[in-house]
């Protein structure tokens, strides 16, 4: 029966991982840019939620919108001002660029907020949920639910809105979309901004679970990578499936081999996957 608890823990975590990864996956799939900033965006979102809570009493779940909004604006500016100039450059260039930008953001956060781990202790926690033999902290379940909700909202946005369809068109074939009148530059900026929004939102959700520090940026980025390769690029259902799967795998690995090994195992899994099937479990033959 303990396995059910472990699996449940994994699913809760997995929902959050999906939210962490989906913005990253979208940017990679549509702009063909690996956004190394993503991890730091998440951390920044966490900080926004933290300060909103500590100074203004705003619950982190509400901060989803605030953090998301702040990151949307930041992402849009960064994309339009900087990344847009190199969007069709080779991998080496775009990767190095976002890496450099991340160095700037991360260092700035370190200077502004210090590396001290902060945490949010909710004044009115939601207590524990009991579902059959499984105990789950109410706040985490709520966070997971919101994370999945956000992911589904994004999915609907992509499918149903004209912006969303334009984004999918650019992901499928940039040149064809351009020929059909899509303003690819604007779509790129919006997509990147959406990715940043999702990162900020995820950060707000994560702020009640994980300690907040710029040092955590690479950790989140690593998870996003694994989820992308597991679930396939640019695919929201893929990110969801990959996230849940990663959560469960990590949960079991933590139990059997100890929490320190969980990261190594997920990386090993990533390498095996890359070796065997780079396009992921669900994704289309992704961009390189």
């Amino acid at each position: 029966m303990i396995y059910l608890q472990i699996a449940a823990n994994g699913l809760v975590l997995g929902g959050l991982y999906a939210c962490i990864a989906v913005g990253f996956s979208l940017v990679w799939g549509v702009l063909n840019v690996i956004n190394i900033l993503h991890g730091s965006f998440i951390v920044l979102g966490s900080y926004v939620a933290y300060f909103a809570y500590v100074h203004l009493g705003i619950h982190p779940f509400i901060s989803i919108v605030i953090a998301g909004g702040v990151l949307y604006a930041l992402g849009y500016l960064v994309q339009v001002g900087i990344i847009n100039r190199v969007v069709s450059a080779p991998v080496l260039i775009t990767l190095t660029l976002t890496f450099g930008l991340d160095l700037i953001l991360n260092n700035t956060m370190l200077v502004a907020f210090t590396a001290d781990y902060r945490g949010i202790t909710l004044a009115h926690p939601l207590g524990s949920l009991e579902i059959g033999p499984v105990f789950l902290p109410g706040d985490r379940v709520a966070a997971m639910a919101l994370a999945i909700l956000l992911t589904i909202l994004l999915y609907r946005l992509l499918r149903d809105s004209s912006i969303g369809r334009a984004i999918i068109a650019v992901r499928m074939d940039r040149e064809a979309a351009e020929l059909m009148g899509v303003d690819v530059k604007r779509i790129n900026a919006i997509t990147f901004a959406i990715g940043a929004f999702m990162a900020g939102a995820a950060g707000a959700l994560l702020s009640i679970i994980f300690p907040i520090s710029p040092l955590n940026g690479p950790v989140f980025l690593g998870k996003a990578f694994v989820v992308c390769v597991l679930g396939g690029l640019g695919s929201v259902p893929g990110a969801l499936a990959g996230g849940l799967l990663l959560g469960v795998i990590e949960s079991f690995t933590s139990y059997w081999l100890g929490p320190e090994r969980a990261v190594t195992v997920s990386f090993a899994l990533l390498l095996v996957l890359l070796f065997v099937r780079p396009s992921g479990l669900m994704g289309r033959r992704g961009y390189e």
């Binding site: 990679w28 063909n32 690996i34 900087i82 100039r85 190199v86 450059a89 080779p90 991998v91 080496l92 260039i93 990767l95 190095t96 660029l97 890496f99 450099g100 930008l101 991340d102 160095l103 700037i104 991360n106 260092n107 700035t108 370190l110 200077v111 690479p218 690593g222 990578f225 390769v229 320190e260 090994r261 990261v263 190594t264 990386f267 090993a268 990533l270 390498l271 890359l274 070796f275 780079p278 961009y287 390189e288």
Partner: protein, 309 residues
């Protein structure tokens, strides 16, 4: 040949450094040589073959630890260095088989992950590697100045060797083949290039000197731990240096190494807390305004002064 002459002159000039420089200058120069080795090595796989490898830190850390472990089991220092290079070479050859069929982003990520995994593995084997507490290396029986000179000359020798390899590689069939692979891998296949073998060779070459440099570094600082020798910046800075100097050129990587490290020294001396951000700014400026590196810029402005390529 112009290239050999340039190398000989520069090596001779640098060899005279201990006569005019103090220990600080020697240490700085040794660091420049070390990064020159890494940048030149990265150029073999990243510049010539066009495969953006983030594995440099993996090779560096592997070399450092291999040498440390061997020395702690009684192997003398210089043979341990050589074994470290061999270990890095074999590791790259093996790793290449696993990830060189990947292209672009996937290859980059895979190589990045490998370094992270190596770091984790070292962390979790404390009996073998000292784990998070790190490893100590035997001290040399030399004065401070003596050590500074010894390690400067060691790094210089390695750097000269690496540049020499670059010169040979660029003229060789292997170098030609790698350039073909970079420009059009399908055409390279059809023309009779065994792309798999060539890429593996390039990747292995990009590892061997880096491994030795890691080993020398370990002996130099006498203490290594995972976050130090597997630091992702060890993978990124050589890339930036090559971009700065000129991708796929012979002397570009070394020029980039000199410039970036001098820039860093200037910033580090004065702005320690934003040191990392400053590197980030350099990267962004470089990518946006100098996409082909300095050598290309100079060649455009001064076509008559065609620098040794």
């Amino acid at each position: 040949m112009r290239n050999w002459l340039a190398l000989a002159v520069i090596a001779a000039l640098l060899a005279a450094l201990p006569l005019v420089g103090n220990n600080y200058a020697l240490r700085l120069a040794a660091t420049v040589c070390m990064y020159s080795v890494m940048a030149q090595s990265w150029n073999f796989i990243g510049g010539l073959a066009g495969y953006p490898s983030f594995a440099t830190a993996a090779f560096f850390g592997l070399g450092a630890y291999a040498s440390a472990i061997l020395q702690n089991h009684g192997v003398p220092m210089v043979p341990a260095w050589a074994c470290a290079g061999l270990a890095a070479l074999l590791f790259a050859a093996f790793l290449g088989g696993a990830i060189l069929h990947l292209r672009g982003h996937y290859f980059a990520i895979a190589s990045l992950i490998v370094a992270e995994m190596l770091r984790e593995i070292v962390n979790t084997l404390p009996d073998f590697t000292g784990g998070g507490k790190g490893m100590n290396l035997p001290l040399l029986n030399l004065s401070v100045t003596g050590q500074a000179q010894f390690f400067f000359y060691s790094m210089l020798a390695l750097a000269v060797l690496t540049v020499a390899s670059a010169i040979v590689l660029h003229r060789s069939k292997l170098g030609f083949g790698l350039r073909c692979i970079q420009q059009n891998e399908s055409a390279a296949d059809i023309i009779g290039i065994n792309t798999y073998a060539y890429k593996t060779a390039g990747f292995s070459l990009s590892a061997v000197f880096v491994g030795v440099s890691g080993a020398i570094y370990a002996s130099w600082v006498n203490y290594i731990d995972p976050p130090d020798v597997f630091d992702v910046l060890i993978s990124v800075k050589p890339m930036v240096m090559v971009l700065l100097g000129g991708l796929g050129t012979i002397f570009g990587p070394s020029i980039g190494a000199v410039i970036l490290l001098l820039l860093e020294e200037a910033v580090w001396r004065n702005f320690l807390t934003i040191h990392v951000a400053a590197l980030g700014v350099i990267i962004v400026v470089l990518v946006l305004f100098l996409p082909n590196g300095l050598l290309a810029l100079i060649r455009e402005r001064f076509p008559a002064k065609a620098m040794a390529k």
